[in-house]
Symmetry: C2
Subunit: 414 residues, 2 copies
Amino acid sequence: MTLLKSWVESANSADTLFPLNNLPYGVFSTPDLAPRCGVAIGDMIFDVHRAEIDGFIDLGTSLFAAPSWNAVMGHSPRIWDALRTRLMELLAEGAATMPDTLVAQADAVMHMPFNVAEFTDFYAGKHHATNVGTMFRGPDNALPPNWLHIPIGYNGRASTVVVSGTDIVRPNGQTKAPDAQMPSFGPCKRLDIELEMGAIVGGANTMGDPVSVQQADDMIFGYVLLNDWSARDIQAWEYQPLGPFQAKAFATSISPWIVTKAALDPFRTSTPAREKDLLPHLHEPGPMLYDIDLEVTMAPAGQPETTIARTNYNQMYYSAAQQLAHHATSGCAMNTGDLIGSGTISGPEKSQRGSLLELTWGGKEPMTLDSGEIRSFIEDGDTLTLRGAALGDGYKIGFGMCSGTIQPARKFPK
Amino acid sequence: MTLLKSWVESANSADTLFPLNNLPYGVFSTPDLAPRCGVAIGDMIFDVHRAEIDGFIDLGTSLFAAPSWNAVMGHSPRIWDALRTRLMELLAEGAATMPDTLVAQADAVMHMPFNVAEFTDFYAGKHHATNVGTMFRGPDNALPPNWLHIPIGYNGRASTVVVSGTDIVRPNGQTKAPDAQMPSFGPCKRLDIELEMGAIVGGANTMGDPVSVQQADDMIFGYVLLNDWSARDIQAWEYQPLGPFQAKAFATSISPWIVTKAALDPFRTSTPAREKDLLPHLHEPGPMLYDIDLEVTMAPAGQPETTIARTNYNQMYYSAAQQLAHHATSGCAMNTGDLIGSGTISGPEKSQRGSLLELTWGGKEPMTLDSGEIRSFIEDGDTLTLRGAALGDGYKIGFGMCSGTIQPARKFPK
């Protein structure tokens, strides 16, 4: 696969995140246009809502009446493929140009690309789990006994999944210092990120019916970048015995463009060799992880960004397909719009760690940013940004940014 | 408060679960009527969808266009009160009878009374937490250090909340015997119930804004019985470190009638005396728990029911209002349709335990049912039923049944 050419000139650069090969799906608005579905192409957005109304997209069913991609996601992979094929035709070099159907990304505001049904977050990066486990339980008990056998996950909160650019309010919560008699209540003091990928579920299974790993891969519609904002001090006090709760519930940010499984297909890669064989129900019939370069930057208010980590999605121990199959083992019904967080993506090197908890080793090794400021965790006014792209032969499949700026904690009501 | 009389004669018995004092909200259908909202009165259902169309209910906004109570729940408590007042007028003794607007409960099928937005389950019964903690971690570490300071909860799965009468498929899952080298995969062998109450959230808060305990109580619309079906063997293997996942994801049953906060008001009671003072953000400004008698029965296929536990909601250490306030401490957005499970309700006596895990002490003390059959956990074909009612002066505020029959596990797909 090489760069596919479009009549949208900005899509033909080797540096663009959004060549014709990509065609990711988002929801945008401008001062003149109410929120609607669009497709990124170069530095423009192709207004598919308008293209459908004008008759250029007609798959026998209305796809873009609402400002969300859930209608498309709820259709079969046959419709997913037909839509991508039609978009390729419409936007390819040599096709009739449609300048009235293009909006500059610079003029648009992005919205949530889909309505999140439920959000589940996993813990499937071995370097991350080992790092965190070492800090919390010591090196001998770093990985829990189940970790090599099932992708460990927990249900998160869908109501606070927000699109990149949404400010994040520092959470309040209850914490307890190890030497304190009683807990105390107030703003989080150890606010963190988790660099993740999010897999978006299109297909559904019937309650009671498990799915295979292949069926699970077929059910996945696409991927986004995902920042699982985390309050480490709240988490440490609350998480035993039933897992993280308010420490994760206040916000999860995602990038605005859903990169389809089809666009990522050339970048499929296998999960790593196993220390212990997985049971058959979790075997991957083919490569279901992806080679996607990822990075995190941090910028104090008014300061430039410093890159604080670079890693790759191919570091994960379990693919999203394995996670989704595990999620349905019990007969749990998975639905269109479910969002599956990969778990924090850390590599083996210190510079490849996907959370401040790991990068500063629990705050014991603070970072110095390019601006000279020192950080152990996130301070008010800081902006954290994730970026990601799969690197092809002379082209990129980019995700755009997943960014959020921290606002001070709210006063607690009397 | 004593029994309020209705022109629906069956509502005037001291034994009915649904006197005029109650007026719980459900969704029903008959062979002639598509699913629609209704109100239980005696052994009948008052068809509020029809009453609204006929102009007998007109609160200035359409409430019953859809077969769910979410539209009502999403309105303010002023509308909640106005609706209840109007229903009391229409159904009171002396009001014009409306026989065409009544359907016999015996002729109706009940459906989910509302669309569940998200489901959160708590662990707020001290007897239950102590019993389970003793079994899992020994008597000295039974209650985790945080337990007396915050209501411990975890996010559950909304997609598998089903109405009473829905069959429950035995889940598959991965388990590991303590002496086994490797885990194995197959149908759950330790299938259990958890007797709980469910609080249904009507009002919403804005993401980032915490709520007080009083605000949380004001946001609660009503209550149902809730059975948090649990796969104990799957849970034991998966729950460290991030909490229960597939062990709880396969099914949660609720009773079909939402009993409103207004109907339960005479039965408000305080949470118990505290060993350790709660921090101010969790103080109850008034009684927010309820005195509701509860029981569980078990019936093997073709056999009569045996009552296996009797307890009371007043045993809980935290009220639903405290749980909801805690849920929003971080700024987590709570929405119309959120469902909050109380946690298993066990009393201090063995006969008051709300799970088989506790009743049979992890299977070590099997129960003998009235039919002579012996049970440690639930077998295929068994029906488990919860019942509950608040007992007033010559009247009851009943919840109806929360029942489910176990079907064999499905074959896992190749």
